[in-house]
Amino acid sequence: MFSTYPGQVVVDHPISVPIEHRFDPYVDNGGTLLSIAGEDFCVVAADTRQSEGYSINSRYVPKSVKLSDKTVISMGGCYADCLTLTKRIQQSMEWYQHAHGKTMSTAAVAQMLSIMLYQKRFFPFYSWCILGGLDEEGKGAVYTYDPVGSYERETCRCAGSASALIQPFLDNQINFKNQETQKHTQSLEKVLRITKDSFTSATERDIYTGDYLEIFVITSKGVEVQKMDLKKD
């Protein structure tokens, strides 16, 4: 007969179990984002496609937002949650600015975001966040998050639908994993090349990535934005 496992009950008659239909508040709007920290700069890049299932809602809905001259945040996952979280962060930063007379540092925003995410531990923001910016010493900083607030500072990270395609490439090209090359920090030109190549490649294979790529470059001079085309199919 059938083998049973502990706790399983086998009966010889049909049983009925109520089926529950519930409204599902979450939706995955797709898209990919990455951030790479350099010696004195930080790059935050994300595609701009917003999807829902097999449809494209819009070809240009930016996923990255400039929070200050030193900090840029990018979020993927459920766009409604991401946008709400972004607004909450911006509002908190404004309160901080008025209370303390200065802009929140990247590290301070990083900790605050973790707390904000955990506060919704039992009805999470379905958002994969990456915070990129310059730390108080002017060095590039990247903070990575999971949807409930676990965070860590890293050199480079990508998140979103094509993260599994890009992260290994970044591990090899930025951190020189499995290579005999001496570890060194890459120049801004090299990092931008790696970023663009990551996205064009991801666009080939991931249906949720494409349309346009927006790259935010944070340096001591401020934040500069570049936009380039990606394949629209």
Binding site: N29, S58, V61, A80, T84
Partner: protein, 274 residues
């Protein structure tokens, strides 16, 4: 009225309230005389509070396109009750401020509630009397927050709204769905339209090299073409629709119109048309 034949001929039971004729929740304590009047339930139906899980009377696609002079939207005049074409003169495009139109697909009762909310908001703004009126991006943000907060309470307004307008020379066209997802695009189509009409809208914009190269006549032709396709292929549509035009001169919502369709080929079909 008791629809259930098994109940006919028997005394009605006070314990069963299928149509929620008692209030759902009540804090008023009464002398108990039936099963529903147990501690905590008071004069209630005895059911726990439940939330909207499905739309009842619904509208189908709403389309929107940006063009040279402004924004144009279209929606048919049908409100369906499942597969029944119940209400055939419903206006699903509604003017909000001087330069904004909201189009609704999904549950019509929720749309009526949202119309009431928007009217209240407009009155509050008027009473503030500070020289400002709500522009399309402001109404969009307000609507988005309402939709997002309702979904976060697990009791959504079961609609996808399209908001179109002009503000200070800038054209605005965006959509918000029942889960609170907002997005803006040069062309918008909800429901079946997202599959049947959106490809046509996007191709027309691309062919002409952008929304600035679409004249008003072009926009009307493009929307009519889409409405024709939708009438042919969407089983919950009707060949009676309105067009809304928003320019910097204001809002015009047309009288109901229809498109020419060809059905003569149907006589030649045998079986399922193979």
């Amino acid at each position: 009225m008791d629809h259930f034949p098994t109940n006919w001929g028997n005394p009605r039971s006070e314990d069963v309230d299928n149509y929620n004729t008692y209030p759902v929740a009540s804090h008023i304590a009464k002398v108990p005389h039936s099963v529903t009047q147990i501690a905590g339930y008071g004069h209630t139906s005895g059911h726990p509070t439940s939330h909207t899980q499905q739309p009842v009377v619904t509208g189908t696609s709403v389309l929107g396109i940006k063009y040279k002079g402004g924004v144009m939207m279209s929606a048919d005049n049908l409100a369906s009750y499942g597969s029944l074409a119940r209400f055939r003169d419903v206006e699903r495009l509604h003017q909000v401020a001087d330069f904004t139109v909201i189009g609704a697909s999904g549950d019509i009762s929720d749309f009526q509630y949202v119309k009431h909310l928007l009217d209240s908001q407009m009155i509050k703004e008027y009473n503030a009397d500070d020289g400002h009126t709500l522009a399309t991006p402001n109404i969009y943000e307000y609507l988005w927050r309402v939709m997002y907060n309702r979904r976060s309470k697990m009791n959504p307004l079961w609609n996808t709204f399209v908001l179109g307008g002009v503000h200070k020379g800038e054209k605005f066209l965006g959509a918000i769905d029942l889960k609170g997802t907002p997005y803006q695009s040069p062309s918008i189509a909800t429901g079946f339209g997202s599959h049947l009409a959106q490809p046509i809208l996007r191709k027309e914009i691309e062919m002409r090299g952008g929304e600035e190269n679409i004249s008003e006549e072009d926009a009307v032709q493009i929307l009519k073409k889409c409405m024709k396709v939708l009438f042919y292929r969407d089983a919950r549509s009707m060949n009676k629709f309105q067009l809304a035009k928003i320019t910097d001169e204001g809002v015009t919502i047309s009288e109901p119109m229809s498109v020419e369709t060809e059905w003569a080929f149907a006589e030649k079909i045998r079986g399922y048309g193979a």
